[in-house]
Amino acid sequence: MTDTTIDVQAAGPQAEPSTRMNMIQAINSAMDVMMERDPDVIVMGEDVGYFGGVFRATAGLQAKHGKRRVFDTPITECGIIGVAVGMGAYGLRPVPEIQFADYIYPALDQLVSEAARLRYRSAGEFISPITVRSPFGGGIFGGQTHSQSPEGIFTHVSGIKTVIPSTPYDAKGLLIAAIEDNDPTIFFEPKRIYNGPFDGHWDRPAQNWSKHPAGDVPTGYYKIALGKAKIVRPGEALTVLAYGTMVHVAAAVIAEAGVDAEIIDLRTLVPLDIETIEASVKKTGRCMIVHEATRTSGFGAELSAIVQERCFYHLEAPIERVTGFDTPYPHSLEWAYFPGPVRIGEALKKVMRT
């Protein structure tokens, strides 16, 4: 399906009508558009029906598309994903919501051993075209069970795609692409930036998407190809690899430091856009990786290894990884855990020093 993929922003001004949306509205719009286009798309999860989801991502969908296509589920993530796999085997295209990424673990067996393996083990007889949406990441005082970033668990699994948007525009285009994709996709939504971009300074006034260019979102159908990164800011001095909330935090630090960095928003972790990464690091000779997840075996380790394997002779400094700590996500000390401007700033100095 990727052959018909278009990136509206990259393609320039469009006749397509657009409106201001925050990330929640953009995600809602993606599901709405897909439910209108494809009668096999169904949405389910805890509290997603009449109420419209604890983050309101499914608001209005049940009223519009009916409760046989948008419905609440029992509180069993294992059941939600298992049922979605069965629906996918029937021929539907389920979009289950796991209310918080922290709650996804009871569903791991159904994701890792079933959804991810079904195509392979049945030699293509059965597939799992499911898209698992789930808010992830911290910065909202959610404590250790509403703040985690478990993307590295899924990037480690063969047969699953992992997608993480950083803007309303991308969120809608990527979610539509994920729903149309015939492979299972984990779609992690950075909940800290649902309502607006975040510069990493928790004590500054919150921003919203109304003035951000990517808060202008087409009301209709469009998609952004999975596996394609986006160069958020072109630059020559350093390559910054980030995704989700950390794209914005890193960009703010870079802007304040006045470094001519090339900031790459990965958007899809698996499959990774290796070409964009490789070309950038070979050009800049320096690389800093930023993610909120814990450090050890985090996705940054994979990025670091890949960059080293492919760009070693172009590197002028050791690759820097800026991550959350290898601790549970704390409640009161959230901003000490969060890889914010201080930690990124220190890493920036180190990677630029040599």
Binding site: V83, V85, G86, A89, Q110, R119, F126, I127
Partner: protein, 432 residues
């Protein structure tokens, strides 16, 4: 130094607590006596109308639906009154499953494949269900329901190709032997992880209902697997949405070496799990082909008329090892299979047909011989496509096919690396 966490917290005036750990009645060397098992007589259990609410017959979860009596007659309200032709067809299918099992077990012992699992003693559970369901109904089996495929007339050669991971293996050598997947025959891809198929069957059934389809789903797991969270998630979902699904719990008494007590059998029945979820529950004689047929047909009618799910506990016995990797002599009494009070399902159906004058020992012996020949012919044909014991039959680069619909760069890169390395190594795995 050993610590005692309770040191200083024990109260001298209270009785010390005691942890209970279940233990099966008989271990190797023990004489077996199954008289403690409570077996109601055939025909004694009532048959509610399929439109009755589940909470009006919860007693059935604690009884035992039996149709074939000690005189080999079909009796009582659950008697499905099948035509002799159907009975003979069912008998033939069950005998064919056993012949197939014996041949493939031997093939594994001869080094022709890596693994096999027999269903000896449990043939009725899958075969009768296949006869009672529509061919279009979707089955989500565990690993011991090969009888579904055999009864649905699926090619034994195709099954053997999979067992041998040979050039004609429809699963391209990607799956452990017997983990079949046959979409055309309504047979879902078997997982090695237990009970995962339960919520999947519910999801399939919910999808069918949401689409206004007329097909229902059926799924199977062992009594041991009912302890998995998936089982309970499935029951909850099925109850909530009244999914048109049949849950089969094959209580064959043993989960590898763990007796059913480790899944809770000492406290209640497995059919009783249904009661807590408010879904229909039946406990039946799983070695009685007519009881299995009748219960499945009854559950299917409930599902087709939007009465919701039914859980059927098939009370049976795993007469042989868990798999070719298992030796039950290490943990249970050798006397158990022969002492099992519900007998052998094939013999019981055979005796019934003879009792009603529709079969005889000579025809049965002739049929056994004919089936053995049929299986042998199929084996010969399958072996033309190769056997695992003779090496690998799939092109090396197919290892990477089917991870995703389209192969991403990192897999293409690993594939190219593997092909280059293998080619350079000179190992005789060249592409066939």
């Amino acid at each position: 130094m050993a610590s005692d966490p309770a040191n200083g917290t024990r109260r001298a005036n209270l009785q010390p607590l005691s942890l209970y750990v279940p233990e099966p009645k008989f271990r190797p060397g023990d004489a077996v006596d199954f008289t403690e098992i409570d077996l109601p007589g055939a025909g004694e259990t009532r048959r509610p109308d399929t439109a009755d609410p589940a909470d009006t017959f919860t007693d059935l979860a604690y009884q035992l639906v039996r149709v074939l009596d000690d005189e080999n007659q079909a009796v009582g309200p659950w008697n499905p009154r099948l035509a002799p032709d159907t009975l003979r067809a069912m008998l033939r299918s069950m005998a064919l499953v056993r012949a197939f099992d014996e041949r493939m077990f031997r093939a594994q012992r001869q080094g022709k494949t890596s693994f096999y699992m027999k269903c000896t003693g449990e043939e009725a559970v899958a075969v009768s269900a296949a006869y009672a369901l529509d061919y279009e109904d979707m089955c989500f089996p565990s690993y011991r329901q090969q009888g579904l495929l055999i009864a649905r007339g699926w090619s034994m050669v195709d099954m053997m190709n999979q067992i041998y991971s040979n050039t004609a293996d429809r699963l391209q050598g990607k799956q452990l032997p017997i983990m079949y997947s046959v979409k055309e025959a309504g047979f879902f891809s078997i997982s090695g992880n237990l009970a995962t198929q339960y919520p999947q069957a519910v999801g399939w059934a919910m999808a069918s209902a949401a689409k206004g389809d007329t097909r229902i789903a059926a799924t199977w797991c062992g009594e041991g697997s009912t302890a998995e969270g998936d089982f309970h998630s499935a029951c909850t979902f099925a109850s909530v949405y009244r999914a048109p699904v049949i849950f089969n719990v094959v209580n064959n008494q043993w989960a590898i070496s763990s007796f059913s007590g480790f899944a809770g059998a000492e406290s209640t029945t497995f059919a009783a799990r249904a009661v807590g979820y408010g879904i229909a529950g039946l406990r039946i004689d799983g070695n009685d082909a007519l009881a299995v047929y009748a219960a499945t047909a009854w559950a299917a009618e409930r599902a087709r008329t939007n009465q919701g799910p039914t859980l059927i506990e098939h009370f049976t016995y795993r007469a042989e090892g868990h798999s070719t990797s298992d030796d039950p002599g290490q943990y249970r009494s050798e006397g158990e299979p022969n002492a099992w009070p519900l007998g052998d399902p094939i013999k019981r159906l055979k005796d019934h047909l003879i009792a009603i004058g529709e079969w005889d020992e000579e025809r049965h012996a002739a049929q056994d011989k004919e089936l053995a020949e049929e299986v042998k012919r199929a084996q010969k044909e399958a072996e033309q496509n190769g056997i695992l014991g003779h090496g690998l039959h799939q092109p090396l680069d197919t290892l990477f096919d089917g991870v995703f619909e389209e192969m991403p760069w990192h897999l293409r890169e690993q594939q190219a690396q593997m092909v280059a390395e293998e080619t350079a190594s000179g190992r005789p795995w060249a592409r066939k």
